[in-house]
């Protein structure tokens, strides 16, 4: 299949998911929190496209409501990761010297510590909320971004046009803003998709362990954990959520690969 077609399909999937998630209030769906024990554990059928859970709540509505919170947390934490990673990466790659050594040391430390363990610890101590998830994941997961931006900044710094600008006596801040930053944009865009994969995996994983938005509001990880108890009787609870998570991660994967190769083509 054509690479372009796959990329467009991935973008279309993400866009459709986002629209469905944020417009779910307007769609003719059941209330995601509406309990109806008479309708408990119904398999997928006309009234409930994805079936119902153990309390008779409509799973399609719950999955979409969960998508909304998941997408918000993922987008915000990814943005925070990129901001931190880009700032540290630029500082380290552009100035070099002791700044570079210090940043590299921190990167090394963060790289070797299994941070999911601490994400679990931090979120269980601070209590799970959208804000605590965003801050925790946002402060933990910036390492890849910093590494890549650092390498790219160091490469740009030694290119002719940057050296010329500096030779002409433009100030450091002007070189950074006018020459370095615009040329980092493609790198950061490719990193965005990659970071979003890591954040989504981590966020859903935490939710699966019960460390996400408190009880009645649904999350993808929470739906998986719920469905695990009914694996033998109600396969649809886990199946549709698993499919949604995998499809979204696959779409992000396609985008991340696509942007990486576009960048390489651009360079050659």
């Amino acid at each position: 299949m054509n690479r372009k077609v796959i990329t467009i399909a991935a973008l279309a999937w993400l866009a459709a998911l986002a629209i469905a998630a944020f417009a779910s209030d307007a769609l003719p769906l059941a209330d995601p929190l509406d309990i109806d024990l008479a309708q408990a554990l119904l398999p997928p059928a006309a009234g409930h496209w994805m079936g119902t859970d153990e309390l008779g709540r409509d799973l399609l509505a719950r999955t979409l409501a969960a998508a909304q919170s998941t997408l918000i947390v993922t987008a915000a934490a990814t943005a925070l990761n990129l901001l931190l990673g880009t700032l540290l990466g630029i500082a380290s790659g552009f100035f070099g010297g002791w700044i570079d050594e210090m940043v590299l040391f921190i990167i090394d430390l963060f790289w070797s510590v299994p941070f999911i363990v601490f994400a679990v610890l931090i979120v269980s101590v601070t209590g799970a909320s959208a804000a605590s998830l965003i801050v925790t994941i946002g402060l933990i997961n910036w390492v890849t971004a910093a590494r890549v931006v650092r390498a790219e900044t160091a490469r740009l710094r030694d290119l002719e046009f940057v050296r010329t600008a500096r030779a002409f006596g433009f100030s450091t801040s002007s070189v950074l803003i006018r020459d370095i930053c615009p040329n980092l944009l493609p790198t950061v865009a490719a990193l965005a998709a990659f970071t979003a994969i890591e954040v989504l995996t981590l966020e859903t994983g935490l939710a699966f362990l019960g460390l996400s938005l408190p009880a009645p509001s649904p999350t993808w990880g929470g739906l998986l954990a719920e469905g695990l108890d009914y694996l033998t009787t109600a396969w649809w609870i886990v199946m549709f959520t698993a499919l949604l998570i995998t499809a979204t991660l696959a779409a992000l994967q396609v985008l991340s690969r696509g942007m990486q190769s576009a960048r390489l083509l651009d360079r050659s």
Binding site: L109, P114, S124, V125, G205, L209, L211, L224, V238, Q253
Partner: protein, 307 residues
């Protein structure tokens, strides 16, 4: 050269362990919220909280508390679980066997499917098989471990009845499915990296020279290309171990394996902070130490590091 590299690894390991202890301390004592209330629970009376604060030394300055916490952490004095009313260390010891078995089986499978099988596929020299082998693992690796393990359990246990739904640690075959699920992502990465490295090595002048000298293609692969492709692939293998930590949390919970992952999960559910702190420390420190040792072994194996 190699001693310098080993020394820098050791320095880094010590820094990492210090970071782990400090972050754990910050999580348990530095974050907003009263650790005494957190450990004793919401129903505790203010007298019992005051008594606990005195006995646990929570009324001391933060620096004193930090020093004591670090000293105890390095001596593995992890306190008692107030939910299970037992020392945390004995809980961790008791649950360790299952986690370590899972990690061991996963590592074996990672070596088998990540390194051995790809090389064998090269030997029978079928490009199509090799491409589909890589594609299968890449596709499996898209799903995170919690999704993959649930789907695997649903398919193998519930739909096909290949394995029992409840996990039985004494059956050797019961370990295979969770271990494969856990290893899927590292296998995908290792296979891709190994193939890339072999392809690159096969382009090198020394391979052309070996071919010109009349070595058969099998010898060219095994004796010339493979040793040069191996180091990065082995590094990917070592990275896989770090991934196993994250993954085993979820794989254990889904399959009902009673190891450290499940222990941490129960601790999260019961708000059993002492256990959570203990497991976090042991898990993080253990994995960092293992990966540091592996890195040193890899360095020792790589002749380029001896120069």
């Amino acid at each position: 050269m190699i001693w310098r590299a080993i020394r820098s690894r050791v320095v880094r390991l010590v820094c990492t362990l210090w970071l782990i202890v400090s972050v754990t301390f910050l999580c348990a004592y530095g974050l907003p919220g009263d650790p005494a209330r957190m450990i004793l629970g919401q129903r505790a009376t203010s007298e019992s909280i005051a008594a606990f604060r005195r006995s646990a030394g929570l009324d001391a300055s933060i620096a004193t508390q930090y020093a004591r916490f670090a000293r105890r952490a390095f001596r593995l004095e992890l306190g008692d679980s107030l939910v299970q009313r037992r020392p945390v260390v004995s809980l961790i010891e008791e649950r360790g066997a299952q986690t370590l078995t899972l990690l061991l089986v996963s590592t074996l499978l990672l070596t088998l499917f990540g390194l051995v099988v790809p090389v064998l596929l090269r030997l029978i020299d079928s490009h199509a098989t090799r491409a589909s082998y890589t594609a299968i693992w890449t596709m499996l690796a898209v799903a995170p471990p919690y999704v993959l393990s649930i789907v695997a359990l649903l398919a193998a246990a519930v739909q096909l009845s290949l394995v029992p739904v409840t996990f039985d640690p004494r059956r050797a075959s019961a370990w295979i499915l969770p271990a494969i699920v856990l290893a899927a992502y590292p296998i995908a990465v290792t296979v891709r990296l190994l193939n890339e490295q072999i392809d690159r090595a096969l382009q090198m002048p020394y391979v052309t020279a070996a071919r010109a000298l009349g070595y058969p293609e099998r010898d060219v692969l095994i004796r010339f290309a493979l040793p040069n492709a191996m180091t990065p692939a082995l590094a990917a293998l070592a990275n896989g171990l770090a991934f196993f930590v994250t993954g085993s949390f979820f794989v254990e919970v889904v399959f009902g394996i009673g190891g450290w992952g499940t222990l941490a999960y129960e601790a999260v559910r019961n708000k059993d902070i002492a256990v959570l702190v203990g497991v976090s420390l042991v898990f993080a420190a253990g994995i960092c130490s293992i990966s540091a040792v592996l890195q040193v072994v890899l360095l020792a194996l790589d002749p380029r590091a001896h120069e």
